[in-house]
């Protein structure tokens, strides 16, 4: 399992994809950060920035996950992993953790931005810490979604687009709530939404339910990935 994790992590940085991800993430988050907090405006607040980071997931996280399994399938190296003495869960978790490491490390680097806030004022540490934790966990959930989708196809582009579609569902659909009459649908959308649960963190409230939800979401999609492989073996 450690071998797969190390190889996967390394492969991000022998191909351009790792650098592209880090570059896009840091540039975009830097721009958003300065736009949201440093420039004077009515809506200027670090909370807006943190929300936008979540929206960024839609574009950047599929970059990390699209190749995880689809590339193995295309290169026929999948057989190697599946015939080696490693459990399916071990294989899936190793790949998930490799992508997660790149994401988490990049996000933590982007947190250096917050130092600027301390230079000019006294930001609410509860907002920064709580939201960062939520971002890290919600990012994990989105990566797990990407892991799952990439196990379904050998085409990286399809993996990326499919992942985007599902992340959009989890992050953006709650925006539609204002237009939906039916209370049942609205409550379902609210319940599954990653974003609705994130709002509390941006106000400095620690929402334990949300944490559990993000972790469960990651677990469910990793588990589904294992099931995909298990099922493929049986079919």
């Amino acid at each position: 399992m450690l071998a797969i994790y190390k190889r996967e992590l390394r492969s991000y940085f022998v191909s351009p994809i790792g650098y592209i991800f880090v570059a896009i993430f840091l540039i975009a988050s830097g721009l958003l950060f300065s736009y949201c907090t440093l420039q004077a405006g009515t809506g200027s607040s670090v909370s807006t920035y943190l929300t936008l980071v979540m929206y960024m997931f839609i574009i950047v996280l599929p970059l990390l996950t699209m190749k995880l399994f689809s590339d193995e399938k295309r290169m026929r190296t999948e057989q190697l992993l599946l015939t080696s003495p490693v459990s399916l869960m071990g294989m899936v978790v190793a790949k998930f953790l490799a992508a997660y490491t790149v994401f988490a490390a990049t996000y933590l680097i982007s947190c250096l931005d917050f130092l600027v806030l301390y230079q000019y004022g006294t930001p609410n540490a509860a907002i920064l810490l709580g939201s960062s934790l939520a971002i890290l966990l919600a990012g994990g959930a989105c990566i797990a979604i990407g892991v799952f989708i990439s196990a379904l196809t050998e085409n990286q582009l399809i993996a990326a687009l499919g992942t985007m579609a599902i992340i959009v569902f989890f992050i953006l659909t709650s925006i539609l709530n204002g237009y939906i009459d039916n209370a049942v649908i609205r409550s379902v959308i609210n319940w599954v939404s990653i974003m609705e649960r994130f709002v509390n963190f941006t106000s400095g409230i620690f929402d334990f339910n949300a944490i559990v939800y993000y972790l469960s979401l990651s677990f469910v999609f990793l588990f589904l990935t294992v099931r995909v492989y298990d099922k493929r073996r049986w079919n």
Binding site: S11, V14, S84
Partner: protein, 329 residues
């Protein structure tokens, strides 16, 4: 060492492998022979745990692949049809990755060096796999299967796409490996199994149609023995004399190539050697035999007949037709 019992793989109502059973002893090299799509790869995939069987059992060294997949996989080195290499890695990185992946406990540098020397990739050890030729990639694939010194090595079409020199090298390598490992290899190239394997399993249309020692396989499949003999003497009387020899089941004229001699095709019952009898009979009439040639079915003939036409009569017809063709020639 390997025990396969009533293995079945079904996709919907279509069989990929239908009720295959065989065993492989320790230290044996077994060739898995069959046309494309016969079920060789599927069988190997089930043996290595890549696919699960619909029913039946596969045991490696007493460990059921479905009951304890991880322990069973530890016993196996597998080279799939396409060498499963990561193009962006160097050979060194790749083999070290495999070493970690398999959780080896042998001395790392010594073990990897030994493997590289065996498959002769030491000279490309620090090159990126993407830049290697097909032959080298194949050898890296073989090296990968050898990491951890597994008891059983399974090769799926190990020589496909290689040039003749590389093919010979790989075959020799497999023979060498066979001394210390149990090897199963699949191929649709006949001379390959003949050259390398102790035993041949022919598989066709998802079933085993033959499972014999390499040296025995032609005996089993040849219903009758065939000779081509060249005799000096009057054609029609020689032919009727030959037909009268005890043990001859069929004889016909193949053609006369020289002025005073004629070639005949003679078939005899299985297990009967009629050559002495033929010689004596014809010598008594002072029609000298100036050439005798065994037309014993080659592995190729066996393979084609087993795979193409399980129907006995068409096989016979085909043989006759071939006789005619030779006559015309």
């Amino acid at each position: 060492m390997i025990k396969i019992e009533h293995l079945v793989k079904r996709y919907g109502d279509k069989y990929a492998v239908n009720d295959i059973s065989f065993t492989v002893e320790e230290g044996e090299i077994v060739g898995f022979l069959g046309p494309n799509g016969a079920g060789k790869t599927t069988t190997m995939s089930m043996l290595t745990g890549f696919l699960s069987s619909t029913s039946g059992r596969a045991e490696i060294n007493g460990i059921d692949i479905l009951e304890d997949p991880i322990a069973a996989k530890r016993q196996i080195g597998y080279l799939p049809e396409n060498p499963p290499v990561y193009m962006e890695m160097t050979v060194r990185e790749y083999l070290n990755f495999i070493y970690d992946l398999k959780g080896c406990t042998l001395n790392r540098s010594m073990h990897l060096k030994e493997i590289c020397d065996t498959v002769r990739i030491s000279d490309v050890y620090d090159r990126v796999i993407r830049n290697l030729s097909k032959g080298y990639r194949q050898r890296v694939g073989i090296a990968q299967a050898l990491v951890g010194n597994p008891k059983v090595i399974i090769f799926d079409e190990p020589t496909v796409g290689l040039d003749p020199k590389q093919i010979i090298e790989i075959r020799n390598l497999i023979k060498t490996l066979g001394k210390s490992h149990t090897v199963i290899l699949s191929t649709h190239i006949l001379p390959e199994v003949q050259a390398v394997c102790d035993r041949i399993i022919i598989i066709n249309k998802c079933k085993i149609v033959a499972n014999e020692k390499t040296e025995d396989i032609s005996k089993v499949f040849e219903g009758s023995r065939r000779l081509s003999i060249k005799v000096c003497g009057p054609t029609s009387s020689v032919l009727s004399t030959i037909r009268g020899v005890e043990g001859v089941t069929y004889a016909e004229v193949l053609g006369s190539h020289d002025a005073d001699s004629t070639s005949y095709l003679v078939e005899s019952a299985p297990g009967v050697d009629i050559r002495k009898m033929l010689f004596n009979t014809l010598a008594a009439k002072s029609w000298p035999i100036i050439g005798i040639e065994s037309m014993g079915a080659s592995l190729e003939d066996i393979f084609i007949s087993v795979v193409d036409e399980p129907d006995q009569t068409t096989r016979k017809k085909r043989r006759r037709n071939r006789g005619d063709a030779e006559k015309e020639a």
